[in-house]
């Protein structure tokens, strides 16, 4: 393949991502928002959403498409949070308890989802979407009629004199779950950059002397680190992240970021295990995997179970995070699948390919549009509602485009293989 072809191919694969980068830059400029505000919001949202988006990777690799049924994982997490609030457990213990309740619930749900999706192979995306809707009905039933009536809850979460759980659950104040992870340790953004740059240089040095790294790559890492550190020395950029001029000092919640980092490492490591190999084999071709003696159905069920549990924990990370504080008991889970799915696709993932980096970049880009869309629209069209609708359009549109591209490629592949067989026949 020539160099030019390579570039062309790269642009083709990442067309959506480049489009979104251009859109983001355009929107940030048009919105006229303070960069400090944009940066702080972006960091907040990345922190909130990255975990859930990362939970989508395993099913994609296992060839099951975007698992919109992660909403069911989120429901499991909300059951966990509800019980935690009802029992009055606070702080880190509360979060751990909620995560502990989520684990068996999400595992069970994931098992059932996997079993059902095995009966609709090739339709997993739509199947998981509708399954999410269906589960929403069961969730409403549970929260409206079963909790409080058959499963006793404390007065803190039920409506006195009526059936069902309150419409909004508060996590702040005496409930003590708000920022239970985020608030543990926060350091300034620039410090994080310095530490990361230092760590990267050290690691690269080590690898370079062990001859695991080529000189070219080593130099690239050095330059990247230097550029990052150097950029922070420019006053205009440093101001964005520091508290100068009455702005907010941008802080990074270390524990949450560590959790997100752990999940990235987990995603990487699991792909190197036997199970990860199975995921990949099943994702590439079920027929081949089956012939190689892999239990295809079982592997798929495991992938969905993992994804559901991770999504549940992701929802807990989301709920406790900075700037949320309360959650809509009956609606908080509804958009989880949509936003996470759109985010990972924006990052350049497709229906059958996804990496950690794509998930993180996608979350970053998607939310940078999310933050700026309203102001940009009100500046462009004099109406902020347009921005709201534009956000919805972006979410659905990017999923539709990804699905279309994937189906298109599939149809082409099929056609060319048909042509090939016909050609060989002739």
């Amino acid at each position: 393949m020539t160099n030019q072809n390579k570039v062309l191919n790269h642009i083709k694969t990442y067309a959506v991502t480049y489009l979104f980068i251009a859109l983001s830059v355009f929107f940030i400029i048009v919105s006229g928002l303070d960069m400090n505000y944009v940066a702080s919001q972006l960091l907040l949202r990345l922190n909130r959403n990255a975990f859930i988006v990362l939970a989508l990777i395993i099913p994609i690799v296992a060839g099951m498409g975007i698992n919109f049924a992660i909403t069911i994982g989120a429901m499991a997490a909300q059951i966990g949070l509800l019980l935690t609030i009802s029992w009055g457990v606070t702080g880190i213990t509360g979060i751990l308890l909620a995560a502990g309740i989520t684990l068996p619930l999400a595992t069970l749900f994931g098992f059932l989802i996997g079993k059902l999706l095995n009966r609709m192979k090739g339709q997993e995306t739509i199947g998981s979407l509708i399954l999410g809707y269906f589960a929403n009905g069961a969730y409403q039933l549970l929260f409206l009629f079963i909790f409080g009536n058959f499963i006793p809850l404390s007065d803190k979460v039920t409506i006195v004199g009526a059936t069902g759980v309150q419409n909004t659950l508060n996590l702040t104040g005496s409930v003590g779950l708000y920022k239970a992870l985020d608030g543990v340790l926060q350091v300034s953004f620039s410090l994080v950059v310095y530490i990361l740059a230092g760590a990267a240089v050290l690691l690269a040095l080590l690898q370079f002397f062990r001859k695991n790294l080529t000189g070219k790559k080593f130099a690239a890492i050095l330059i990247l680190a230097a550029v990052l550190v150097g950029l922070l020395q420019i006053p205009a950029i440093a101001d964005v992240f520091s508290g100068a001029g009455g702005r907010q000092l941008i802080r990074v919640p270390v524990v949450t970021w560590l959790l997100i980092g752990c999940l990235c490492v987990f995603n990487l490591l699991i792909m190197r295990t036997r199970l990860g190999q199975k995921f990949r084999a099943v994702g590439q071709s079920q027929t081949v995997a089956n012939a190689a003696g892999i239990n295809v159905d079982r592997t798929r069920v495991i992938a969905i179970m993992l994804s559901t549990v991770l999504a549940g924990w992701g929802q807990i990370v989301f709920m406790q995070s900075d700037g949320i504080g309360t959650f809509q008991t009956y609606a908080a889970h509804e958009q989880v699948g949509l936003y996470a799915g759109a985010a990972i696709l924006v990052g350049g993932a497709s229906i059958d390919r996804a990496t950690n980096l794509q998930a993180l970049i996608g979350t970053f880009l998607f939310h940078s549009l999310f933050i700026t869309a309203q102001s940009a629209a009100s500046n462009l069209f004099g109406d902020s509602a347009v921005g709201e609708y534009f956000r919805a359009f972006l979410s659905y549109g990017v999923i539709a485009i990804a699905l279309v591209i994937y189906a298109w490629r599939g149809a082409k592949k099929r056609k060319s293989s048909v042509d090939l067989t016909q050609a060989t026949k002739e």
């Binding site: 739509i126 809707y133 269906f134 409403q140 039933l141 009629f145 059936t163 902020s384 999923i399 149809a411």
Partner: protein, 758 residues
């Protein structure tokens, strides 16, 4: 593998048979018991027992009332005594309550010994008085119900039909009779002499409605102003510490229309200050985003506070008053202390007494329950009491028996039923039959339900019909039919833009919607033709995206009729458009008639039947047969020389166009057209209806459409009513809708998938 299955199947089948036999026996026992109960209801002896119960209940009500009066008097005396004490203020609220309660309890206990078993010297006199009161009350009640019903009819037709109360009230000015006369344009009964007495109430209603309408418009304007204000100001902290006058002037400069709306000044300034203080603390004020949920048919609830009684009713009321006096004097003879009660206590006893004597209907169960609630049961001895209970719960037992019978039949004929009917359809059909029977038990008016089901059938029917060509041509469930729906909505707003009303407007909306749907459907079909195998996923998301895109479109399109655009900003279509002034219910009311209390929307149903007929004719035509072949077996179709892509294009375009017409019909039956996110879920609703009707993702017939829409809407309408009367608070019916609708689509998906995707 197959051998294992066979081994498994035998004992399973046997267990099911045994279980079903047991259920049959059980249901038989229940049915026999129910028949016995119904027989008992008619016997002389039960009638006698029932009136004995009534007398007893009346006595108990009176003596209970006396006891309550004595207890409450003791309580208030104790309170007075406490108040007189010097240290009253230092006593806690709990202490005061406890002391008073114990005093009341003591007095009640003492009084109970005296009055709880009143002796009846002359029961004949009491019974005559009770019968007299019952007759008077029943006459009064029947008359009152009839009048209220007539009033309710007028009220509902006014509230549903009057397009603009403010206009009416303004036109009439202070002249009440003119206002009343002008209202008769929307409710024909009002012009008749028989309803002249309603004038003061109805006039008050009209004025109140006009006030409410003005308030609502103001509220809408205020919301828009607030959001315009939020959008116009990029940095609120600039305004920190600015005086009211200067703030108002500054904002008026930035926001269009603010200066003209001086009357909202205080509330807008309040909102501005909230944003300023939020901006200073680095937060933003959450904007309330109104999300229009899925469309529901609202039933207008009659407000009786504007009701005026006729002379006849007043006379009947006086007669019942006199009858009550008679009963009261009989009672005071038996319990002399009753005469010492003050008027307030007497009136409260009177209400309970009247409710006891006449339970509102002559239904055996209702009467029994009313008497039993007032301890009338003490008049009966052991075996009679049991017989009465059996008679009273005959209906309950019957319903339970029928439910068991259905369940037993389901188990017995499981294989045969599900074989020809499919598992979900069998279950839903049986569920529907059960709901119908339960409706009787919950005293839900069946004719009204049936009218509702018929309307909703016609309302959704065409939309469900739109699913059919999609399935037949092989694209499966056309979730992207929302594209057609949006085209239809565009047709509606176009007709509103040009102020078209009546049949012309409806026709124009249908036609222009269909015309817009043509190119959209064609482009959409070209897309789907390249995505064979994953149409359902693609069409769902293409539909969603198109809805979201059109949300922006509705905001930006250059409509300028002030009736349909936002009042303030001067552009952008509103979310909900009332069709009441143009062509709402036009088709419903065409040739509509009442039969046995069922309102038949003839025009609507005829239109649906016509659509179905055309569809049926089409599927028998050469193209239709070719299309069906493509849907059921594309490879075979291709081999026999049919152009698969061409057939798919025809089917998709047809589906889109029918959806466009369908949403117009839907909106005229609903009375409102809803834009923005409202059409998003319509594809799911239509899909589940046709699947319930028995279609698969490869095959669909006209009968599936009709049966499906009837069954789906039937279960929803009945289920909603029953769920609401069985469980306090709504929500259960919505849960049922979500689960049935999505469950059936999931089931259909499991039937197609399962094969390897390679």
């Amino acid at each position: 593998m197959s051998q294992v299955l066979k081994k498994d199947a035998k004992p399973k089948g046997r267990g099911r048979k045994i279980l079903s036999v047991i259920l049959f026996v059980l249901s038989g026992i229940l049915l026999v018991a129910a028949v016995c109960g119904y027989y008992l209801q008619g016997t002389e002896q039960t009638r006698a027992s029932l009136s004995a119960m009534r007398t007893q209940a009346v006595l108990h009500t009176a003596s209970d009332g006396l006891l309550d009066a004595i207890a409450s008097q003791a309580r208030s005396e104790k309170l007075k005594e406490l108040r007189a004490r010097k240290d009253f203020r230092t006593l806690g609220l709990d202490e005061v309550n406890n002391t008073c309660d114990s005093a009341a309890a003591e007095a009640r206990a003492a009084a109970e010994a005296l009055y709880s078993n009143p002796r009846v010297a002359d029961s004949a006199g009491l019974e005559t008085a009770v019968v007299g009161l019952e007759n008077a009350l029943s006459e009064y009640g029947t008359l009152r119900n009839a009048e209220r019903e007539a009033y309710s009819g007028i009220y509902v037709s006014l509230v549903e039909n009057v397009p603009d109360w403010t206009d009416l009230a303004d036109a009439a000015g202070e002249d009440d009779s003119a206002l009343f006369a002008s209202l008769s344009a929307w409710s024909e009964e009002l012009s008749s002499e028989a309803y002249a007495h309603l004038q003061p109430g109805i006039v008050r209603l009209a004025r109140d409605m006009a006030d409410k309408e003005r308030a609502r418009e103001d509220e809408e304007l205020l919301t828009q102003l607030t959001s315009a204000m939020t959008g116009a100001v990029s940095d609120w902290s600039e305004y920190a510490g600015v005086e009211d006058e200067a703030l108002w002037a500054g904002l008026s400069e930035q926001v269009d229309g603010l200066a003209e709306n001086e009357r909202f000044r205080d509330r807008l300034l309040q909102a501005a200050k909230e944003r300023i203080s939020a901006a200073e603390s680095g937060e933003t004020v959450a904007e309330a985003v109104a999300d229009e949920g899925a469309a529901t048919v609202y039933d207008t609830v009659t407000d009786y506070s504007y009701f005026t009684a006729t002379e006849a009713l007043n006379t009947a009321s006086a007669a019942s008053e006199a009858a009550f006096e008679g009963l009261w004097s009989e009672l005071t003879e038996i319990i002399p202390d009753l005469s010492e009660l003050d008027n307030k206590m007497r009136n409260s006893i009177r209400t309970t007494l009247e409710n006891t004597v006449w339970a509102g209907s002559n239904d055996f169960t209702a009467r029994y329950n009313a008497y039993a609630a007032r301890q009338g049961g003490t008049a009966l001895s052991g075996s009679t009491a049991l017989a009465m209970q059996l008679a009273a719960s005959a209906q309950n037992i019957l319903i339970a028996g029928i439910a068991l019978l259905l369940l037993a039949a389901l188990l017995m004929f499981w294989t045969r039923l599900t074989g020809s009917f499919g598992v979900p359809r069998t279950i839903i059909t049986l569920f529907f039959i059960y709901l119908c029977l339960a409706a009787v038990f919950y005293h839900i008016s069946v004719p009204m339900m049936l009218s509702n089901v018929l309307i909703r059938m016609g309302m959704y029917g065409i939309l469900v019909l739109a699913m059919m060509p999609g399935i037949q041509c092989g694209i499966g469930l056309n979730m992207g039919m929302t594209i057609g729906c949006i085209a239809g909505l565009l047709g509606i707003v176009l007709s509103l833009q040009f102020d078209m009303a009546g049949w012309g407007g409806l026709l124009f909306a249908c036609a222009s919607g269909a015309v817009v749907a043509l190119p959209l459907g064609w482009a959409y079909s070209k897309l789907l033709n390249r995505m064979k195998g994953s149409e359902m996923t693609i069409s769902t998301y293409v539909g969603f995206s198109f809805v979201a895109l059109m949300c922006i479109g509705w905001m930006m399109l250059p409509f300028n009729n002030p009736k349909i655009i936002w009042l303030l900003s001067g552009h952008g279509l509103r979310v909900t458009h009332s069709l009441l002034g143009s062509y709402a219910h036009l088709l419903d009311n065409f040739l509509s008639f009442d039969i046995l209390g069922v309102e038949v929307p003839t025009g609507l149903l005829l239109f649906l039947l016509l659509g179905c007929l055309l569809m049926w004719l089409f599927s028998r035509s050469r193209t239709g047969i070719a299309m069906t072949a493509v849907g059921s077996n594309p490879r075979f179709a291709e081999a026999s020389g049919i152009s698969v892509n061409r057939m798919r294009t025809i089917g998709t375009v047809l589906s889109t166009v029918i959806a466009a017409v369908g949403i117009v019909i839907y909106s005229q039956a609903f009375g409102y057209a809803q834009l923005y996110t409202a059409p998003r879920q319509l594809g799911f609703i239509a899909s589940s209806a046709i699947l319930i009707g028995g279609a698969t993702v490869r095959k669909a017939k006209v009968s599936h459409v009709l049966f499906g829409v009837f069954l789906f809407e039937g279960v929803l309408v009945l289920g909603q009513q029953i769920a609401n009367s069985a469980v306090a608070g709504g929500g259960l019916s919505e849960v049922m809708r979500i689960m049935i609708s999505n469950g059936i689509i999931l089931y259909a998906l499991t039937q197609t998938g399962g094969g390897s995707r390679d």
